[in-house]
Amino acid sequence: MKRHLTITMEPIDEASLLAGRSVSSAAGAVVCFLGMVRGTESGKAITALEYEAFERMVEHQIGLLFDVMGKRWPVESVRLVHRVGLVPVGQPSLWVEVVAPHRAEAFAACQWLIDELKRVAPIWKKPMGAGGR
């Protein structure tokens, strides 16, 4: 299973991620997920989320998730990008792509990975309002 993980302060560049995709002729399904910063957090209007990560641990924990994923589903490739720092409303903080032979396993693996990431990746977010906080 090909695996790729990036934690970055830069905006997620979907177009270049697409350009970097390589799929074998055995791959029948590609599932992509984008998690976007919404304009409200707990009912209050915000302008951005400030993400903080314990990066070394995020990388280790997501590496463990990739290990489990590779054992549980016949995934050909998984790529995950999490943006940290200030992410404005309307922009993605998370991008995940799973390539697999069939769609059921691609969807299952992708959803599982996001659920687990939210459970174990040491990342935190702070809502930023119009006034700065």
């Binding site: 070394r56 641990m57 996001i114 939210k118 040491p122 935190w124």
Partner: protein
């Protein structure tokens, strides 16, 4: 033994610092360390129930034995994604 404590997210604000050193007796566990930390940083007491602990890069329970040189991270519930 000496361990380094790292605070993340708003635990850092509560503690007023991102790192602290602690010297513990041999045989100490995460529990020993957390008790020590709560005395030294009393503002963290309220957050005790939602506190997560990692030793190195692994999540560990309160009964985990510590070793000299360990880096112990203490943080609130995670919110990635």
């Amino acid at each position: 033994m000496r361990v380094t404590v790292c605070f993340h997210s708003w635990f850092k604000d509560m503690a007023g610092c991102s790192r602290a050193e602690e010297t513990l007796p041999p045989g100490s566990t995460v529990d020993t360390l957390v008790a020590r930390v709560l005395v030294r940083f009393p503002k963290l007491a309220d957050a005790q129930r939602s506190m997560l602990v990692a030793v190195g890069l692994e999540y560990r329970g309160r009964d985990c034995a510590l070793s000299d040189g360990d880096e112990v991270s203490i943080f609130p519930p995670v919110q990635g994604g």
